[in-house]
Symmetry: C2
Subunit: 218 residues, 2 copies
Amino acid sequence: MKIGVLGTGMVGEAIGTKLLELGHEVKLGSRSAGNEKALAWVKKNPVYADFASQGTFAEAGAFGMMVFNCVMGRASLDVLTAIGADNLKGKILIDISNPLDFSRGMPPSLLVCNTDSLGEQIQRAFPEAKVVKTLNTMTANLMVNPALLAEDHTVFVSGNDAEAKTTVTALLKEGFGWKSVIDLGDISTARGTEMVLPLWVSLMGKLQTPLFNFKIVM
Amino acid sequence: MKIGVLGTGMVGEAIGTKLLELGHEVKLGSRSAGNEKALAWVKKNPVYADFASQGTFAEAGAFGMMVFNCVMGRASLDVLTAIGADNLKGKILIDISNPLDFSRGMPPSLLVCNTDSLGEQIQRAFPEAKVVKTLNTMTANLMVNPALLAEDHTVFVSGNDAEAKTTVTALLKEGFGWKSVIDLGDISTARGTEMVLPLWVSLMGKLQTPLFNFKIVM
């Protein structure tokens, strides 16, 4: 499948590379075509030369039948607006971003929370996209390689479109290797996963590694 | 040890009973002395007749060398104010409450979050109490009986006083049976554990039971 991946940070690179390995065609999007990190990513994957490309956010959004939002939370709405509602219409838009606010220093607070979430803001701004919030509660390497940890752990899924969540869950399980995927409900449940970030940040400081995750034990 | 437990709900009862079983003297506090639920709790524990008592919040607060706050988040500051700073001075105040706001219906939002927390509000209001936030991320039965779940899971501790956290951690481990206790840092890290509540509420709806918890996997 043709997939657009927005963002050239750790998350965008990890997701993009994993999707190539799974046989997808991936266009990595950034603010301007020819972005240094995006070009480096394309070059790093010579075996997938015909399947890896880069371009502007708008080009990556138009290219993908499915789109991964891997840009910073505070930039997400602007980036998606640059892509335009027509380019996202009817597509699954997987939102991995978190609305972290570093403007007050460390630890970050959230730009939106409690009675709203970035996932909901994106769904409201692009009502014809099928927004699925997932993977935003762990570090990039774990998203595409959950087996890095010693035992199973959990990834959450939120979204209004049941079929889209089924597709994303299949990709998470069969593609990325997740065993425990919990569908929390509609996109408003993204509040819960975004609001986990302050605990995640404290834990990273305490454990001195980002290589950990939450597991739901019953 | 003489311990005051504030609140006659599920949390107060569970904590109070467990403390009796551990050999402590417990006074269960409520708004008015002779509260029906508090009297019922005393009667339910005839074997500990000499160790279980009830009274007003102020009486329970004055009684305890250590105090557990198990009242609802929105009532916590008022209840502690009724007890008075002098009655809390120098004492460990274990805060289990969450600032849940049900006034907008279900699911609840939080009365305070992101750049502040109820734990911090309590510490600021009672600077000479040693506030330790803990146990607020799970249902009451699990707080005092973590072995109810099939495998180990995690409880978090936040507070400014290292010695108080050491005392509380020992009680959690040796008294309540916890194996995994993570000290997140100072009381500001209570933001993280209080902000987990929206995810917890979604999970309870999805899993159809409150008998689950978070485990940190590395």
